[in-house]
């Protein structure tokens, strides 16, 4: 019986020739990540351990993105704690305001993750890097602390669900619609404890950025990780961003999967997840009349340049509806700069949007766009739980950048093909 792609990466990092689902293993970590809300708890645990050094100063990474630029005094204290820790332990990759971006957009951009890596992060969307053919998964602060100290983490080897992709996406449809479609199909615990492994000829029809969005939301189906095979596009992306050499793993031909789904990309429509779970999906022709108060385009899921460019192409020369507040959040400084240089920011501002510095901000109800009681937002973010973006009676509708931009103009959830 062969191994899945995930199992092969884990076996190699555990020093084993073979692993099987259910086996408990100890693996070597290529990167240990934390942010400004999870790292303080990890630092407290790290100090309890009595550790005197981090296992590798180039592999521990902290990004101040959630409540930064500091939203209040307590947030400022948490960032200060991270800053002091990284100074004390000489951590190379500490990203503060001015250099930071939203972590899961920033790490690939900075070349800090390549194919074949094992990455843990004290942030659930750490699964994003599966798009580059790495094994990466979210953990808690204690795992981060122990990872920083030892360079190791324990895992139960996951079984996998395979998604065979074929065909290619239609105009105005993107990676966000693919992953919302899949979560709608299998549910928020449909891949619980398991890997989501994407395969098939359709992979090559998806850009690296579409894949990053899809892997990013694997956690919203409960998955441990969501991984793509490495192809020419992946290798070109890594060559452009990293000086490290990728290690390419492929699933064995006789690998066993719990289930296999066939997905025809050409049949996927723009998809919206209604409150209060990412599995409550409707296709754009089923949404009906949903009037909105706010639009957020950004986040680790959809704050890439490609996402902003798609939104700008729809907003160009148009106006945001009078009753809508449209907030655009480039995910990193490089994306922000490119958006300025290429005229995207001008398009957004002329349309009546506000453009923010990179931050997770409103995605988790932190700052920069909190909702009042009863308000509704269309957001390109990843969760629409009760109270996620503000008041407990507010509502978040998850959608692609194209749907979000079209909705900003229409003042209600709208089909980008019809605006």
């Amino acid at each position: 019986m062969g191994m899945t792609m995930t199992q092969k990466i884990l076996a190699a990092h555990a020093g084993l020739d073979k692993v099987e689902a259910g086996q408990l293993i100890l693996v070597d970590l290529d990167r240990v990540l934390g942010n400004d809300i999870t790292s303080p708890v990890a630092i407290r645990e790290f100090e309890k351990l009595g550790a005197t050094a981090v296992y590798d100063k180039d592999k521990v990474t902290m990004v101040m993105d959630h409540f930064a630029p500091n939203k209040d005094i307590k947030a400022a204290e948490q960032c200060k704690m991270c800053r002091s820790f990284c100074n004390e332990y000489d951590v190379t990759h500490f990203y503060d305001v001015g250099r930071m971006g939203i972590e899961h957009a920033l790490l690939p951009e900075k070349g800090l993750v390549v194919s074949g890596d094992v990455v843990i992060g004290a942030d659930s969307h750490t699964c994003t890097y599966g798009a580059l053919g790495a094994f990466s998964t979210g953990v808690g602060s204690t795992d981060m602390a122990c990872g920083m100290a030892t360079g190791k983490a324990w895992f139960k080897v996951p079984s996998a669900i395979r998604f065979n992709l074929k065909g290619k996406l239609n105009p105005f449809v993107s990676g966000k619609d693919v992953i919302l479609h899949i979560i709608g199909m299998i549910g928020v615990d449909g891949a619980l404890y398991r890997s989501m492994e994407f395969a098939g000829e359709g992979v090559s029809a998806l850009s690296v950025y579409d894949r990053l969005t899809i892997s990013n939301m694997a956690i919203e189906a409960g998955a441990k990780n969501g991984i793509f095979p490495v192809d020419e596009q992946t290798l070109a992306y890594i060559a452009e961003h990293s000086d490290r050499a990728p290690v390419v793993y492929e699933a064995d031909a006789d690998a066993v999967y719990d289930e296999t789904y066939e997905i025809d990309l050409s049949r996927i429509k723009s998809t919206v997840a209604f409150p209060h779970l990412p599995e409550n999906t409707k296709t754009i022709d089923e949404v009906g009349e949903v009037k909105i108060d706010q639009v957020v385009i950004g986040s680790c899921t959809n704050g890439h340049y490609k996402d902003l460019a798609e939104a700008a192409s729809i907003l160009k020369g148009k106006k945001v509806a009078d009753h809508v507040r449209a907030i655009i959040i480039p995910a990193t400084q490089d994306i922000y700069l490119k958006a300025i240089e290429n005229g995207l920011v001008k398009i957004f501002i002329e349309a009546g949007c506000v453009v923010s510095t990179p931050t997770c901000g409103p995605c988790l109800g932190g700052h920069m766009g909190i909702l009042a009681a009863g308000e509704r937002a269309v957001a390109t973010t990843n969760r629409n739980f009760v109270g996620r973006m503000g008041h407990v009676t507010s509502e978040v509708y998850l959608a692609s950048p194209a749907v979000a931009a079209a909705s900003a103009i229409a003042g209600k959830i709208a089909d980008p093909a019809k605006v």
Binding site: I37, V41, V139, G140, T142, A149, T150, D189
Partner: protein
Amino acid sequence: MKFTGTVIKYGDNVDTDVIIPARHLNTIDVKELASHCMEDIDKDFHKKIKEGDIMVAGLNFGCGSSREHAPIAIKASGISLVIAKSFARIFYRNAINIGLAILECPEAAEAIENGHQVEADLDAGLITDLTTGAKFKTNPFPPFIQKMITNGGLVASIQKGDFC
């Protein structure tokens, strides 16, 4: 390890945003986190919980964010044990790592009602609804995890040189 307590029951997909809303993640003070635990779906949670109470929930408990503040807030509020039909994986891992006892048992989570008295024996994997007398068997943790719980969590295991 044995626990006895009064049950407070919730449904499926209780997510980390309702266990501890992100607006309170600007602190790592465990008492402050506990004071906001579950407030978005159960405003008076922290007032009505007594030390040792047992939380029972449905499928996918703790889904969403990786915030360890979620099991920390539950534990600090006085809950001794969480029994659910299933747990989201990061929450499951975090609970073990910080020493919050959890048990996955769909039958018990279905049958046990709010307010019942429950006894749970973690070593034997046995849950007893003292109110109805019903008993439920679940798989005890594998030795690997039991050792970590006995040591008092992952940090304590490393301190003891018991991890790697």
